[in-house]
């Protein structure tokens, strides 16, 4: 979230020291992973938020199908159910709540809010997840490589990080949005296999993903690099070197498994950050546009209906908050579970 240039910076994940022989470390018999799992399960809050997140993910996956089979109708008009004299706010209490429209209708076009919110997860989460994956991928690869090979490579990556971090993210986002999306839709979509990028939704979505990952990877790279440095000298790496393992093998077979914990935590915390980032971007008019729903563009419309249609104003905000909080708590839970030292 930070969107922000460094408006996102504020939410870097605290560094994770690997758990040394703390009290729990003494416990033999179960593998660290099993222990972490056990700890995570033991934490009610984490579990609840985990279920919530699962539900969100489910909604994201299920909605497109539900739309296909006609259960959901995110952009179907019900203008007959609106009071067109009052600027098109729904007839009936609570923004036109009814059996057919459990969360009411959107003002203006009278689309079904439930459908829209649910379907918006598909896009918002889609963006957040793809963004996170790419971010983490870049971060991990560069982090491992620079941490492992050190020297010139390390320095270069370092400079590269500096360069990336000194770009004002939100400004670049604004300034590049229109041209880049045009570029994607006109030229990139000409390339073989990329024809689908002509679609404005995909193009806009892709742009958001690009921005998020282009500016998001440095912290990941740093965390990973730190981890790599700390394990680089460990015996098993030496051993692997001795038996003449290839670089690639070293990096990804030997090193990667030993830095997964921080990566996992970082990932789980990036997702919610990116979800609210998408919302913030929408406010600036960047990202997927209606009628295709995203949490961001729904919220952007709903905020102006504070008084006229309170239901429509509150629901999207609450849904967004709930989602973000849930994912964050899962992330925290994961960190606490994996690193008892910072345990509650």
């Amino acid at each position: 979230m930070t969107i922000p240039a460094s408006e996102m910076e504020g939410h870097a994940v605290p560094p994770l020291g690997e758990s040394e022989e703390g009290v729990a470390g003494k416990v033999a018999g179960r593998s660290p992973t099993q222990l972490a799992m056990a700890r995570f399960r033991a934490d009610k809050l984490s579990m609840i938020s985990f279920y919530v997140s699962c539900f969100v993910v489910f909604a994201a996956v299920a909605s497109p199908i539900l739309v296909k089979i006609g259960v959901f109708d995110p952009d179907g008009l019900n203008q007959d159910k609106l009071n067109t004299d009052l600027g098109g706010i729904p007839h009936g209490a609570f923004g036109g709540v009814s059996w057919s429209h459990p969360l009411g209708l959107t003002p203006g076009n009278g689309e079904d809010l439930l459908s829209r919110l649910s379907f918006s997860m598909t896009y918002s989460l889609g963006i957040a997840l793809t963004g996170t994956l790419i971010t983490v991928l870049i971060g991990v690869v560069l982090g491992i490589i620079s941490g492992f090979s050190g020297g010139f490579v390390d320095a270069t990556v370092g400079r590269f990080i500096d360069l990336t971090l000194s770009f004002p993210q939100t400004m670049m986002l604004l300034a590049l949005a229109a041209p880049t999306v045009l570029l994607i839709r006109k030229d990139v979509s000409e390339l073989p296999l990329l024809g689908f990028l002509e679609n404005p939704d995909l193009a806009n979505g892709l742009f958001v993903v690009i921005i998020l990952s282009a500016f998001g990877w440095p912290p990941v790279a740093r965390v990973v690099r730190g981890q790599v440095l700390s394990i680089r000298e460990r015996e098993f790496i030496e051993a692997a070197k001795l038996i003449g393992a290839s670089r690639k093998r070293l990096y990804f077979k030997e090193v990667l498994p030993n830095v997964w914990a921080p990566i996992l935590v970082y990932t789980t915390l990036l997702i919610p950050a990116y979800i609210s980032a998408e919302a913030a971007f929408s406010f600036l008019g960047v990202g997927i546009k209606p009628p295709t729903p995203t949490l961001g563009n729904i919220l952007r419309d709903s905020v102006s209906w504070t008084t006229a249609d309170p239901t429509y104003f509150f629901l999207p905000g609450i849904v967004l908050a709930l989602t973000v909080v849930a994912f964050n708590l899962v992330g925290d839970g994961a960190r606490d579970a994996l690193d008892p030292k910072t345990h509650r």
């Binding site: 022989e21 009290v23 729990a24 003494k26 033999a28 008892p340």
Partner: protein, 355 residues
């Protein structure tokens, strides 16, 4: 006043000390019913693998678990007062003054942001109402005493600018600056190389003589014990498994775990065909320790005990053949015989001869 202590009863007596940590994974029984006594000017060595509860017990004596989730019970009587009965504040006032601790790995044990002198003086200032200047003078004196060259120049250095040995000396200076009655040295030499080890140990002994203080030295190195300690306490899975005068325990160990420890010490002046017999298996889980004798899963002599007592019943800590002063926690009928006939030839062939 010191005399008074040495006359009636021991200076420190720990009775049935229990330290339990409730964790997300269950209760960790770090120390379970530990008892021992220690007189002024005497040294006790507490031996055991890491995680056997050595450090935990000693920090319990310092009251470092106060304010944490740890559950501490039993009695820790120091100079006539039960430390566990004291209020946090009273305990704090004793900490560093009557009891002080010398930690292992002084690099992490010293604050990286403050100068060595500053940190030592701090320990003096908190317990003595004196000027900063006086404290600094005292600090210099202590640094001098622990053998830091040109203390007046090093006093304003930061810990990371000291060598390992120097840091350990500084730690000792910090621990002794209020000449406490009881010093707990937690693995004071593990981080150091052999020659420095010797120096530090000598230093400790000199200081002990000077201040007539009692020392608890925690280590997994029987060599250190042999050199320093009057008594030795072997701990396993949070319990004392053997306890007695050092010489006695080292020459006539009564407990297979102690044998294991002995056998895993490379004998410095010993001959080369001395076999190193490591103890098989891992330290037990303190969450759910093995039934009966906690050592049984790793004990090769289990078979020699009838009706697998080892697995079912926890042996008492009782005097063995070596008289009341030397207690052990083991079901074996005649450990001496077993040790002489089976173990000794293995680990110290040369000792057989003189027998």
């Amino acid at each position: 006043m010191t005399d008074m202590h040495s006359n009636d009863g021991p200076y420190l007596s720990v009775e049935d000390l229990v330290v339990h940590f409730p964790t997300a994974d269950g209760i960790v029984k770090a120390t379970d019913g530990l008892s021992f006594t220690l007189g002024r000017g005497k040294t006790i060595g507490v031996v055991g693998e890491s995680g056997s509860g050595k450090s935990v017990s000693s920090s319990a004596i310092l009251g470092l678990h106060r304010g944490s989730s740890a559950q501490v019970s039993g009695r820790i009587v120091l100079g006539g007062t039960d430390l566990l009965m004291l209020s946090d504040e009273e305990m704090r006032l004793r900490r560093g003054k009557e009891v002080s601790m010398i930690f292992q790995d002084p690099l992490s044990a010293m604050h990286p942001y403050y100068t060595v002198g500053n940190q030592i003086a701090e320990a003096y200032l908190v317990h003595n109402d004196v000027s900063k200047k006086a404290a600094r003078a005292r600090t210099l004196e202590m640094l001098e005493r622990v053998g830091i060259p040109q203390p007046d120049r090093r006093i304003d250095d930061y810990p990371h600018q000291f060598s390992g040995g120097m840091r350990q000396r500084a730690m000792i200076a910090m621990g002794l600056i209020n000449d406490p009655g009881l010093i707990i040295a937690d693995e004071p030499t593990t981080a150091l190389d052999v020659t420095v080890q010797a120096q530090i140990l000598d230093l400790l002994q000199d200081l002990q003589r000077e201040f007539n203080s009692a020392i608890i030295i925690i280590t997994h190195d029987l060599g250190v014990v042999a050199e320093m300690a009057d008594d030795v306490l072997v701990m396993y899975a949070g319990r004392a498994v053997e306890y007695g005068p050092t010489k006695d325990v080292l020459t006539h160990p009564q407990m297979p775990y102690t044998w294991g420890l002995l056998s895993s010490v490379p004998d410095v002046q010993g001959d080369t065909n001395a076999a190193l017999i490591p103890i098989p298996g891992n330290p037990p889980s303190l969450l759910n320790p093995p039934t009966g004798c906690a050592f049984h899963p790793r004990c090769v002599h289990r078979s020699k005990v009838p009706a697998d007592l080892c697995t079912t019943t926890l042996p008492e800590l009782l005097p063995g053949s070596q008289g009341p002063g030397h207690t052990k926690r083991c079901h074996l009928a005649d450990p001496d015989e077993l040790y002489r006939t089976e173990i000794l030839p293995e680990i110290m062939p040369d000792l057989i001869v003189e027998d």
